[in-house]
């Protein structure tokens, strides 16, 4: 009970700190501007206007969430260490696991507020432009939130032991690997079936693709834009299983981050 209270206190302070971050405001304003610009894109595009507005805005949500997770998330732990505020904080009866988990939930709350703000703007915009606002779009936004939950955990993991720049690069690497791993595996298997590669290289590439697919979180699962903007139904229990998948990865990454962080010396 005491631990949960400590997590809530640290999360609240993290939230309070993050919403004062100028980088956050830049990202949020850019996201709002791009969301509004999607109306213009819809008018210019040769595609269906509603489709362009919906898919562009969902992409903006995903991208801005990613930028917040990386640029605000990584600096959160690094700032505590560099400004030495971590010394006073960790001398209180709170464990380093509590610190990491508190930071995580603080940033998750920032991303949740950001996505909520964009969702409100999104729906107002869809109503005003008669672009068929549907409840199914919320499913896509929820899955973007799940994806960001995993990305924040990745960012915290790397920032628990490496520098800001390296953490950002590693997190971006995991993000892209997570989005492309499925495609890579399919391509390699397709090439193998078509006999485009020699036996030895086929086996090697296939093994590498299988390892990448297994190790990196499958973030491609959280991109359901094409389903929802075309009004297609998601498979049964898709949300449930992918929520479980995200929770599993978040737990794993936070456990590793806490372990690393517990071994650190604070000078």
């Amino acid at each position: 009970m005491q631990t949960l209270k400590h997590i809530a206190i640290i999360a609240h302070n993290t939230f309070r700190e993050s919403i004062r971050d100028k980088i956050l405001y830049n990202i949020v304003f850019l996201a709002i501007a791009l969301t509004l610009f999607s109306i213009v894109l819809g008018e210019w595009s040769v595609f269906d206007r509603a489709y362009v507005i919906k898919s562009t805005t969902l992409s903006v949500m995903s991208l801005s969430g990613l930028l917040i997770s990386i640029f605000v998330g990584i600096s959160l732990v690094q700032k505590e260490i560099q400004r030495r505020t971590v010394l006073t904080l960790l001398s209180k009866p709170i464990s380093r696991v509590t610190f990491i988990v508190g930071k995580y939930f603080g940033l998750l709350a920032v991303v949740a507020v950001h996505l909520t703000l964009l969702t409100v703007i999104y729906y107002v915009m869809l109503f005003l432009t008669n672009a068929e606002p549907t409840a199914s779009l919320l499913l896509a936004i929820y899955l973007i939130f799940c994806e960001m939950a995993v990305v924040i955990a990745v960012a915290l993991l790397f920032s628990s032991f490496s520098s800001t720049v390296l953490s950002a690069l590693f997190t971006l690497g995991v993000y892209f690997a997570g989005h492309l791993s499925n495609q890579l595996l399919e391509q390699v298997r397709f090439a193998s079936r078509m006999g485009e590669m020699g036996d030895a290289s086929t086996a090697l590439f296939e093994k590498a693709a299988v390892v990448i697919h297994a190790v990196f979180p499958g973030l491609y699962r959280y991109n359901v834009t094409s389903y929802v903007v075309h009004g297609l139904a998601l498979p049964d229990l898709y949300l449930f299983w992918n929520t479980v998948y995200a929770v599993g990865y978040v737990g794993l990454f936070l456990a590793i981050a806490s372990w690393w962080f517990s071994r650190r010396d604070f000078l």
Binding site: Q2, K5, N13, T85, L87, T88, L89, K92, R263, F266
Partner: protein
């Protein structure tokens, strides 16, 4: 031994830096203990290992080997920090908060809330003679002295059994130093054990029950101020009514720069000088004894370590 507030035995800590993880020993076989109710001063030059020892005690640094217990609990165990209040050297805080918001934040982390927390904040500020006007200003506008007081205030909010202060008087003006010194003494009278490091040796001499001196990662002296200074012997200053040639001076006696004033390095040198004066009919006008200060001893120990 179970009653000790701090128990450190054969503590070793090595930092590793650079690509090749080059080792640099910071603490070499450090042992000392602090009893409940003591004000314990920890002195030494910069880089001697004071802050390293303090950070080991507060669980901020891991250590290589040895035994470290705080109130009978290892600092690796988060429970040990329930008894501790700690203020780091040059404390840094979240500068977007006001002093009061910061104290509320740390107060909630030690289990305080509501009216009790407000009461404790008021008590801590009173104890440190902190000006109530600036406590509601943002920390980014604070001077070093204000920051130091807020640092100590957050450390004492939870009424800890053990208060660990790293250079609590650095950055303070003389009034601020007096306020902090008085606060330390008051807290000690209320039963709080105080372990603190300082460069201000006159303050250490005046308020510490015991002192440990650390040089180059090793404890070189430990005891009460009297024990430490007496262990270094007493120096005698003698003035005669007639000059003595330097070549005639007995062993262990030297001139101070004046032909009628001499320094005897110990009791036997003094006895030899007095016997010489008696034998030669030289009257002794004045004789003082002087114990070395902590500063003298520390300077001597640093020179010895450098040699």
């Amino acid at each position: 031994m179970g009653d000790l507030m701090i128990q450190i035995e054969h503590l070793h800590k090595t930092y590793r830096s650079g690509f090749l993880m080059k080792p640099k020993p910071a603490l070499k076989d450090v042992s000392f203990s602090v009893e409940p109710g003591q004000v314990y001063g920890f002195i030494g030059p910069n880089g001697a290992g004071k802050s390293t020892t303090i950070k080991v005690l507060t669980g901020l640094l891991n250590f290589d080997s040895g035994k470290v217990l705080v109130n009978g609990i290892s600092p690796r165990d988060v429970k040990s920090r329930r008894f501790i209040g700690y203020s780091p050297e040059q404390p840094y805080f979240y500068d977007y908060l006001t002093g009061r918001e910061l104290l509320r934040f740390y107060g909630t982390l030690v289990g305080l809330d509501g009216a009790e927390l407000d009461k404790r904040i008021a008590w801590a500020l009173d104890l440190l003679h902190a000006n109530k006007d600036w406590i509601d200003r943002r920390l980014r506008s604070y001077s070093k002295g204000m920051m130091q007081r807020v640092g100590i205030a957050q450390a004492i909010l939870g009424k800890p059994k053990l208060l660990i202060l790293d250079e609590p008087m650095s950055g303070l003006d003389p009034m601020g130093r007096r306020d902090v010194r008085e606060a330390i003494q008051q807290l000690n009278r209320d039963g709080v054990t105080i372990f603190y490091s300082s460069h201000l040796l006159s303050d250490v001499e005046s308020i510490s029950h015991k002192v440990a001196m650390i040089v180059d990662g090793k404890i070189v002296r430990e005891g009460t101020v009297d024990e430490i200074t007496e262990s270094c012997g007493v120096e005698y200053h003698v003035r005669t009514r007639k000059a003595i040639l330097e070549s005639d001076l007995p062993q262990g006696v030297s001139l101070t720069g004046h032909p009628e004033e001499f320094v005897c390095e110990d009791d036997s040198a003094r006895d030899r000088l007095l016997a010489f004066c008696l034998a030669n009919g030289i009257a002794v006008e004045k004789m003082d004894h002087k114990r070395p200060s902590l500063e003298d001893i520390l300077t001597e120990e640093i020179a010895r370590a450098d040699a």
